[in-house]
């Protein structure tokens, strides 16, 4: 395993990035157990392996409530949510379908989000976020607020019409948007090369007249650097950038995917690039911190994690009557019949 390059990073910075990625990894692993135990309803699309993208990208965004940057997410939003600041309690409770969830139990695994931290509910329609993010960017532009919108999507989403219309419109309007494509090589069971004659999603940016960059999606620092640069350009009126992060999902597409469409060898190659392990190795090998310090982080993360599980278990279910609220801001009498 090759450590990532963290030269120039302070200890706190490096440890923070490590911790943020670990929070996602542990959360996902725990969620999977809980799901198998039957504690969580529905289905799961998990994020293990891609942590460096969510953390690197969100760490490059502004979180100051007064001019907060926003993100849009996908059917695979757990990592994005935690990285953007959705509380672990709020995210976990939402997976439990509890009233204390970040969406009050109305969103669920595929729709995690929290406007309070700059994340609209994740959109589980592939490329749906690419349509909607234009509006976030347009609002920020019209409001001259200096805010930026970041849109996460997978390589498979780049084959949707929404990608074409959305990116072209944002480019023409010079909207403050950063597109982050997580190319994990597969859309469900389908390898990207079976769906595109060009190898890189980044190659598609040229036809919209916007800059693009390919970055190692298993290197949190590289991702943060690329996004920070794109963010500044966007905020300065330079328009959108398309960043393609080469990454890999360690788990199946959704729970119960036997991954028969890819080889164990390929998986092993990518596990050897584990973004969290590479970060740990970088930290210890450069002497920024020692094993004990990392262990302490792991303990802290697990404490937060177990707290979120306990919190969720002990949280109340939503009241059935809540199901009929929030369809409208100005309620209308819902259809006469029962």
């Amino acid at each position: 395993m090759i450590p990532i390059d963290i030269s120039g990073l302070t200890r706190d910075d490096a440890m923070h990035l490590y911790q943020e990625m670990l929070r996602i990894r542990r959360f996902e692993d725990r969620v999977y157990q809980l799901f198998l135990k039957g504690e969580l309803p529905g289905t799961l699309h998990q994020y293990q392996g891609q942590e460096a993208v969510a953390v690197g990208a969100c760490q490059a965004l502004h979180s100051d409530p007064k001019n907060m940057d926003w993100i849009t997410s996908t059917h695979r939003p757990h990592g994005h949510a935690l990285a953007k600041g959705v509380s672990m309690r709020g995210a976990m409770a939402e997976l439990y379908g509890k009233a204390t969830g970040c969406c009050g139990g109305k969103g669920g695994s595929m729709h995690l989000g929290d406007p309070d931290v700059g994340m609209i509910p994740a959109i589980a329609i592939v490329a749906g976020g690419i349509s909607v993010v234009s509006g976030l960017g347009l609002a920020f532009k019209l409001q001259k607020s200096g805010q930026v919108a970041l849109c996460f999507f997978g390589e498979g989403a780049s084959n949707e019409g929404a990608f074409h219309e959305g990116v072209n419109f944002a480019a023409v309007q010079k909207l403050p948007i950063v597109y982050v494509c997580e190319n994990n090589m597969y859309g469900a069971s389908t390898p990207f090369h079976k769906t595109s004659l060009v190898a890189n999603v980044a190659d598609r940016a040229a036809v919209y007249g916007i800059p693009s960059v390919i970055v190692d999606g298993m290197d949190v620092v590289a991702v943060r650097t690329a996004v920070a640069e794109a963010r500044e350009r966007a905020a300065a009126g330079g328009g959108p950038t398309l960043i393609e992060a080469k990454t890999y999902r360690f788990a199946g597409h959704s729970r119960g995917d036997a991954r028969g469409y890819r080889t164990r060898e390929e998986e092993a190659e990518w596990v050897d690039k584990d973004p969290i392990e590479r970060m740990a190795l970088a930290i210890t090998s450069t002497g920024l911190a020692d094993e004990a310090a990392l262990a302490a982080v792991r303990v802290a993360v697990d404490t937060e994690l177990e707290d979120s599980v306990e919190f969720s278990r002990n949280s109340p279910d939503p009241d059935p009557s809540d199901a009929l609220t929030d369809a409208y801001a100005t309620p209308i009498t819902i259809g006469a019949s029962s």
Partner: protein, 350 residues
């Protein structure tokens, strides 16, 4: 408000066409609220059309191109941008040149605009006003549909269908101030006075006061008071029903004609009260019959006021076929005044 129903001009009145009224309504709201902006194809190009039906002429000069945004031919981008901007505190007015093109951005409307607030647990709102011209005018199958009924089936969306200038100005202002996504369906042949002949010769302008007013979403208008049959209709078909009612009055058939104005929410109370009085109901719309909004209204009456009915509920709508282009074929599909009159006569006899 009853002035909205006048069909003869009273001197001193300020009579506008629907196009003028909507333009005025949008301009007033853009004046009072900097969050309001327009976005669509060919809406503001200098030397252009001011939108497919000229409704926006003059607005770019007033409000500039930051607030009148011309887009590529990309309906998903238009609708998506509107949804996103609305969630971020803006009040977008996305424009569909023809309602037929809504099918290009159904996902943004049905899966995003309508659901974002709910999925967020009520933390977000999506105030946008989508303008959708409907109605057949010899343009064939892809430029004359009345797709409003699809959208009453989408929880999270509101649907209105103004038929005169007074209501049109008032309800577009109400829609812009509303915190939910509203689709406004307007009939092409009612924008100006061109459609007059098609509308049974009735005057299509209406008095529009200069004072600021809104017409509330969810409120129906009784356009003609009567006792024999309750008639509920929108757009061009509403005028045909009014003309038919005058014709039948001579035969002693006295129709009460209701313009529902809003299709979701729907002012069923006004219809129920009328049906209690008349015991007879005819619903007419240019949208095709099966699965049209008339079906929902009929179902509600059959559920809530069954015992007030003295006769079967009658629906008169476009037949279940795509729109043909030849005028003679087109008129064989849409609900004509003759067909409406005929059905009313039959219904009066049951």
């Amino acid at each position: 408000m009853s002035t909205a129903t006048d069909t003869v001009a009273v001197t001193g009145e300020r009579r506008l066409t629907i196009a003028e009224a909507i333009r005025e309504g949008i301009a007033e709201e853009m004046e009072r609220d900097p969050r309001v902006f327009l976005i669509g194809e060919d809406v503001g190009i200098p030397g252009g059309f001011g939108g497919a039906f000229g409704v926006y002429l003059g607005l770019p000069e007033k409000f500039g191109h930051d607030r009148i945004i011309d887009t590529p031919i990309s309906e998903k981008a238009i609708a998506g941008a509107a949804v996103g901007a609305a969630m971020m505190g803006m009040r977008p007015i996305p424009d569909m040149q023809y309602a037929d093109f809504l099918f290009e951005c159904m996902d943004e409307l049905v899966n995003q605009a309508a659901k974002m607030r709910y999925m967020s647990g009520g933390k977000l709102k999506v105030p946008l006003v989508m303008r959708c011209p409907v109605g057949t005018a010899n343009r064939g199958a892809q430029h004359g549909q009345c797709p409003e009924s699809y959208f009453i089936h989408v929880p999270g969306l509101k649907v209105v269908a103004p038929s005169d200038a007074y209501v049109a100005k008032g309800i577009i202002k109400a829609a812009i101030r509303d915190d939910d996504p509203v689709l406004v369906f307007e009939h092409k042949l009612l924008y100006g006075s061109k459609g007059r002949e098609q509308a049974g010769g009735l005057d299509l302008t209406a008095h529009v006061p200069v004072e600021d007013y809104v017409f509330p979403i969810g409120k129906a208008l009784i356009k003609r008071i009567g006792s024999t049959i309750t008639v509920v209709a929108t757009h061009l078909t509403l005028y045909r029903c009014l003309a038919a009612a005058e014709e039948l009055a001579k035969e002693g058939i006295d129709c009460e004609v209701i313009d529902p104005v809003s299709l979701q929410p729907f002012d069923t109370d006004t219809v129920f009260a009328s049906v209690e009085k008349t015991g007879r109901l005819l619903i007419a719309h240019e949208d095709t019959l099966t699965g049209g909004w008339g079906a929902e209204l009929a179902a509600r009456v059959a559920e809530e006021r069954l015992f007030s009915l003295a006769a079967p509920i009658k629906r008169v709508a476009s037949y279940d076929v795509p729109l043909p282009v030849a005028p003679i074929l087109e008129q064989a599909v849409v609900p004509t005044q003759a067909r409406i009159t005929d059905e009313l006569r039959k219904l009066a006899k049951v």
